[in-house]
Point group: C2
Chain length 488, copies 2
């Protein structure tokens, strides 16, 4: 076999790329190990057991690993779990315990449900209905897709299913229908739409207990620290209102700052109408899917009355879809994103609660209370919220952000005297809103940014502006709403 | 759109096929529900709680469902688990508890390990080494592949990985290299090889604690009923010896009864030698994989000394493969067979142990003791073993067979006075050997039979003959060996 000089150069450069990648990965692993060992070997506070101290070291190393991610987050968490067992820090039963936790199965079940939403075409139909109704203008079209996302988020925590499976493909084909493609024609339409959808998505994730996989984890951590129960209905009541304000203002903001060249889009409404004709009447599969969807949302909303666990409801829905043949067993087994969440979720939840039992959180609270002593609670809340928010520049995942910072920040803010409900709701919503900043802020970032319509500088600039608006909206509208509800 | 008469006929016939399939599925569901409700509504023995009785009804309905399988077994078990929760028979925490069980994670971890065996090519290399060494004759070639399977089975419980991923593709390409294809040339070589490999596979599954996913479940059920611990080393010591005798005799038997036309196969040995040249020297990935393989087998074998849980060892192996980049996170997430086993295994294990706690097993033992009263224990053992064995004609899965019959049969046999170790080892090995009977007896059946080399009548005839030989081998060699070990 002969290789041309060009091919040789390519092989050399690809092997040097690989060598660089290997070096970078090695540097990352070195950093993770150094941090882990530094903590493990540093003097342990009195009254803390060696196991607890090692747990802290492995937990922090896992979080650092999730930030640097030489491997995907799921793998990092799995390796963390294995390290906990292999070092005798936890028994295998303790380390695996949360894989039987009902909240973990709630999320897993909801991922399987979302498969039905894509497969039956019901998700697409909902989007087309909204577009036909209000999609005759660029802004209306954006609102139509935002409304679809918000509606799906009441049941579907899989952002991949929601955005990757339903909304992004539609957004992408609409943009192309307007002859707007990445490159010179990007600003005609696609660029505006992608930024708007991403900026709205981070708000949508904060709307419902089930709009992001991390939300039930936030609820569990909240319960652990404060005893407050973030039920499905309470979450929707407190957070959906400021979310709706954000979802109204932010797209309009983007529309003014980063307008599309095409503003009148009757073709989109027409296209949606045509697609709806193609879809025909609601199929029996779609009807069943819709029934399961409504049933799940209703049962979650009314848990106070019947007491059925969230996960039971999700699993009954999955059972119904399997029985009706709407999803088949292979869909369940092939739901990679669901299994991914299952692994990292069960692992992080376990680490979070195991840490809670060590007494380290209590120590941290005592320590930081002395630190913020003399501050007004609102000053402490304000400063810590801002730090919590803008720290997200260094996180590639809301989950990692929450796992690393939620419990300590909540503990500190409450120790400083902030009203517990206010602290919980602010930190919970900021966990998602902060993802607006970058193109890697949450899972959907790579989808929308990766479409190639928007430059990184535009993306970051708009993200920063949106973040300021979101903070203003949530600290005024949100705080007032929670005051009206007498939560503080 | 115009459709020709032919197309119309096709559409009609395919829609009638679908209608028939739907009717059959409905009949199956009806049977499952009728059996479940019949048990649930029949008078409950005194001292048994309503919950326990409902648990029995749902368990039996799940097993009947797994036999009739209107949906795959994993889905049936999942629906059974959901039914247990939805009917308030078990709490959600009880129902999900076994998904945190270390034996379930042992099996899941071992499935991930097996991915590395395929991906690195090490499994293929092992097969080629055996073929180069002893593959110059048809029988030697078969032994070479059997030896490969047996070796892999010491660590890899995934029959799909072992047979589907490594052995079957090699067997298939060798057969084709001898111009033997399904049809007129089948008997040249392929037919002999496929039957031999399947008949050996059922024996291999009985060899090690880790040679089939169901084996750790057999170990748990055994512990539950008798308190006997089937450790990795004890299993290998007691069952590998008769297995090796079977693996020597059965291929020879098939060779005599169903001989290939081609008996001298120096080309196969040559082909293997060429493949080994192509593979080149052992790559570093293969070396690491081999190291993990040996380490896992050694640590499992020596558990008595260090006490490391089997699952920890498997998970450390998975962690090592992830760190070394031999498997990547997507391999883990995409391991459908592993997730399938995870769901049914966790569900069946939970049902089996929950039933054990109800007192129903104890009742059953008392009842059947009165039934077999006056029998010699060896008569009871003999008759019940034969029933247990040939009952497999009605099972499409060893797991279903074990879940349905292992605990009650073991209980009865022991109640009849049979030595516990003898009863356990006989029933455990017969669980696998019985799969020899049909082409759907265990997961690999559809692979080897599905290759199309052998007619169903030949397959069943040879399976029946092999079953007789296996029973003779295990009740003479096996029973004697266990006597030598002073187990009875």
């Amino acid at each position: 076999m002969h290789t041309t000089a060009e091919e040789t150069a390519e092989i050399l450069s690809s092997s040097s790329v690989r060598a660089t990648a290997r070096k970078r990965a090695a540097a990352k692993w070195a950093a993770i190990l150094i941090i882990g060992f530094a903590i493990a070997l540093s003097p342990r506070p009195e009254g803390i057991t060696p196991q607890s101290w090692r747990l802290l070291a492995i937990f922090i190393a896992t979080i650092v690993g999730s930030v640097l991610h030489p491997l995907p987050i799921g793998a990092m968490v799995m390796i963390g779990v294995i390290a906990l067992i292999a070092t005798g820090t936890l028994t295998i039963n303790e380390a695996l315990s949360r894989y039987a936790d009902s909240t973990v199965w709630l999320v897993l079940g909801a991922f399987f449900l979302s498969r039905g939403m894509i497969k039956t075409g019901l998700g697409h139909r909902i989007a087309f209905l909204f577009i036909r109704a209000i999609g005759r203008h660029a802004l209306g079209l954006a609102y139509a897709l935002v409304a679809t996302g918000a509606m799906l988020a009441s049941v579907i925590p899989s952002t991949t299913a929601r955005c990757g499976g339903i909304i992004f493909p539609i957004a992408s084909s609409i943009s192309e229908a307007f002859d707007s493609k990445p490159g010179v024609t990007a600003r005609r339409f696609g660029a505006f739409l992608m930024v708007t959808l991403y900026q709205s998505e981070v708000v949508i994730c904060a709307m419902f207990l089930t709009s992001a996989a991390v939300n039930p984890m936030l609820a569990q951590f909240t319960q652990q620290v404060t005893g407050i129960e973030l039920s499905y209905s309470f979450w929707a009541l407190t957070l959906a209102v400021p979310a709706i304000v954000s979802l109204t203002i932010v797209p309009f903001l983007i529309y003014r700052l980063f307008p599309p060249e095409i503003r009148h889009t009757p073709e989109a409404a027409k296209m949606a109408a045509e697609e709806l004709v193609k879809l025909g009447r609601l199929s029996s599969d779609e009807k069943i899917m819709f029934g399961v969807f409504i049933l799940a949302a209703t049962l979650w909303m009314t848990k106070g009355w019947h007491g059925l666990d969230y996960a039971v409801v999700a699993l009954i829905g999955v059972g119904a879809l399997l029985l009706a043949g709407i999803i088949d067993w292979d869909d369940v087994l092939g739901e990679r994103n669901g299994w991914d969440v299952f692994i990292w979720y069960g692992g992080l939840l376990m680490m979070g609660s195991a840490l809670g039992e060590t007494g380290l959180t209590k120590r941290f609270a005592d320590f930081s209370a002395s630190f913020t002593a003399g501050w007004r609670w609102w000053a402490a809340l304000g400063i810590l919220l801002l730090i919590y928010f803008y720290a997200h520049y260094s996180f590639a995942s809301i989950t990692t952000h929450v796992a690393a910072m939620y419990i300590p920040f909540l503990t500190v803010v409450i120790a400083a005297g902030a009203p517990p409900f206010l602290a919980v709701l602010a930190l919970t919503s900021f966990s998602h809103l902060s993802a607006s900043l970058t193109h890697y802020g949450t899972t959907t970032g790579p989808i929308y940014f990766g479409s190639g319509y928007v430059s990184q500088s535009d993306w970051w600039r708009l993200g920063l502006i949106a973040s300021v608006f979101n903070i203003l909206i949530w600290t005024t509208v949100g705080f007032s709403w929670w005051k009206v509800l007498r939560l503080w």
